[in-house]
């Protein structure tokens, strides 16, 4: 993106910093996109600020997803992609989580559209969302064991592996 993109970003970051000095841990500018890394504790209030502040107006939560940096710690990163329809700007909010304490505030109270996205993250990564109205698996069956998109879950899965092949697959964590 050009300079105008940079200015928007600075405005967004400045606005959030003026609201709370500790709201942003880190600002990442990469390939024209802006990502702000926020502490886990303030995620929901930052989201509310982004939605409600007059100059930000991030009214649409387009995407939420996690990624697993196993074996690094903190291994999980949650990425929320926000779009402001009236102001035509984008922002990504990132939260880092460690595996021993993979709990974060749900954003369903801010955007009801986060409901299934968070259920999918819970299903695939096992990250808990406090305050989620209906946190259960969405794509996999209820009795599924493990969280497949974690890096320590083998691509071929655990099920339906012939006995002879199990010797060559990684052991179950």
């Amino acid at each position: 993106m050009t300079d105008s993109g940079g200015q928007t970003t600075n405005r967004v970051v400045a606005k959030l910093r003026s609201w709370s000095a500790n709201a942003i841990e880190e600002v990442i500018e990469y390939r024209g996109d802006t990502t702000i890394v926020v502490p886990r504790k303030v995620l929901r209030s930052v989201a509310e600020q982004c939605r409600d502040t007059e100059e930000l107006k991030f009214n649409l939560l387009t995407d939420a997803t996690a990624l697993d940096r196993y074996p690094l710690e903190p291994r999980f990163e949650l990425n929320y992609q926000l779009v402001s329809i009236p102001l035509k700007q984008k922002l990504c909010i990132r939260v880092k989580l460690s595996v021993s304490d993979a709990v974060v505030d749900s954003l369903v109270p801010v955007w009801p559209g986060a409901n299934w996205l968070e259920r999918e993250i819970f299903d695939m990564f096992g990250i808990q969302f406090t305050g989620h109205p209906d946190l259960r698996r969405i794509l996999l069956p209820d009795d599924w064991e493990g969280h497949p998109l974690r890096k320590d879950y083998p691509v071929e899965g655990y099920r339906d592996i012939p006995a002879i092949a199990t010797r060559y697959t990684r052991s179950r964590p």
Partner: protein
């Protein structure tokens, strides 16, 4: 995919004119024809009125995101075709844009225009399938046959250009798979001449049809505020009155050079969604026409990036380096610098995004698709609560879900 979990459901007592009675739970799907795939919905009914709806999905989950992590960047393109099978070119485009963003490479204008052309034809074909199948759901058999007749013409163009009718994998990282063959212009031209009249034909069959109006008007109303808060995008959002279109708001692939309208309605009901889609087909034809006129006769169809993008066929036969690059790209792949990228396009169903994270190896660390069907579907309970059971079908139809895209 899960049952209803701990949610209290069914067998509740409701008051009726003849005294208290129990509600009924109806299991709709997963093999219900109107769900256009395998979607199960648990409906709690009071007579014919829906009190509560719980969608249950995952029957078509194939773990595409996990599989992508085990493939090189170029291998994963074939998987993206198979997500939203009515919009494979769009899926290719979203994925390739994300990879290109990660790599920081530019695509030649010639390839960009041709991508636009193909994706817009795909949009028309996707809307045609939607219109035809939705008309069948509503009891109008003939529109289906007409829609599929025209869709066939689009698929023939795809076959001619890419060698495949549906899973084309035609859009590749850095450009296109093949140079468009001679004679494509005549075929597209012929199609563009025919199509506007055919859209008029569908409209004479449906737009003023009393049964069609009765089934769609005022059914499944979604306000603009609700649609945004439920993260809905695409025609469902535009039918509620918000002119948000990724092609306009965040142009990609040179969309800023094209002139087109973003059709909107304000009613937010099923009929508005139908009108928006029909209007979008006409706009897409305009874009295809412009892309055809802009398309330069000469130039590369793929960008030059040694070691990342496969070299031209002729070069491979004369230059040793080109041959080595070709071999290395297809055996071990290429490694983008570490970082994350999110690219999104306007698919026929809404915003289709691709989130890619690289750790500097030849395989993606994470490949996530923001599929519009999945996210639009979560508003279904909101749409159908309080409606009649027959309206559930109209609502599912006009959200326009593709289960391959929902479950991935």
């Amino acid at each position: 995919m899960s049952a209803i979990g701990t949610t209290p459901f069914g067998q509740e007592t409701v008051e009726t004119a003849i005294g208290p009675t129990k509600t009924m739970v109806l299991n709709m799907g997963p093999q219900h024809p109107s769900t256009h795939g395998v979607l199960r919905i648990l409906l709690e009914l009071d007579g014919e009125t829906v009190l509560k709806a719980i969608p249950d999905l995952g029957y078509l989950h194939t773990g595409i995101e996990k599989s992508c992590e085990d493939k090189t960047y170029s291998q994963a393109i074939t998987l993206t075709d198979r997500m939203d099978y009515l919009n494979p070119l769009g899926n290719n485009l979203a994925y390739c844009l994300a990879v290109e963003k990660l790599l920081g490479i530019e695509v030649p204008k010639r390839a960009q225009y041709f991508r636009v052309l193909m994706v817009e034809l795909q949009r028309v074909s996707s809307h045609l399938v939607w219109l035809g199948t939705h008309a069948i759901d509503m009891g109008a058999m003939s529109a289906f046959l007409y829609c599929f007749r025209e869709r066939e013409e689009i698929l023939k163009i795809f076959e001619f250009v890419a060698g495949q009718r549906m899973m084309t994998s035609y859009i590749r990282i850095g450009g296109l798979a093949l140079e468009p063959p001679t004679g494509w212009k005549e075929r597209v031209e012929k199609f563009l001449k025919m199509m506007p009249g055919r859209i008029d034909e569908y409209e004479t069959l449906l737009t003023g049809n009393r049964i069609w109006l009765g089934r769609l008007k005022g059914v499944g109303v979604m306000s603009a505020e609700d649609a945004v808060s439920y993260s809905m995008t695409g025609p469902t959002l535009r039918a509620a009155g918000l002119a948000h279109d990724v092609r306009r708001a965040f142009p990609y692939s040179s969309y800023e050079e094209f002139e087109f309208d973003v059709p909107t309605r304000t009613e937010g009901d099923c009929f508005a969604r139908y009108l928006v889609r029909v209007a979008e087909m006409r706009e897409s034809l305009k874009i295809v026409r412009q892309a055809m006129e802009k398309f330069p006769a000469e130039g590369p169809f793929r960008t030059e990036a040694p070691g990342i993008i496969p070299p031209a066929r002729e070069k491979m036969k004369t230059e040793m380096e080109a041959l080595i690059y070709h071999f290395k790209i297809f055996t071990e792949g290429f490694a983008p610098p570490p970082g994350e990228a999110y690219a999104s396009i306007e698919s026929p169903r809404g915003e289709l995004g691709c989130f890619l994270a690289s750790d500097g190896s030849q395989k993606p660390l994470r490949c996530h698709f923001r599929s519009p069907s999945f996210i639009n579907l979560q508003a279904l309970p909101k749409l159908v609560t309080g409606q009649l059971i027959s309206d559930v079908i109209a609502c599912i139809g006009t959200i326009d879900i593709v289960l391959g895209d929902v479950d991935r």
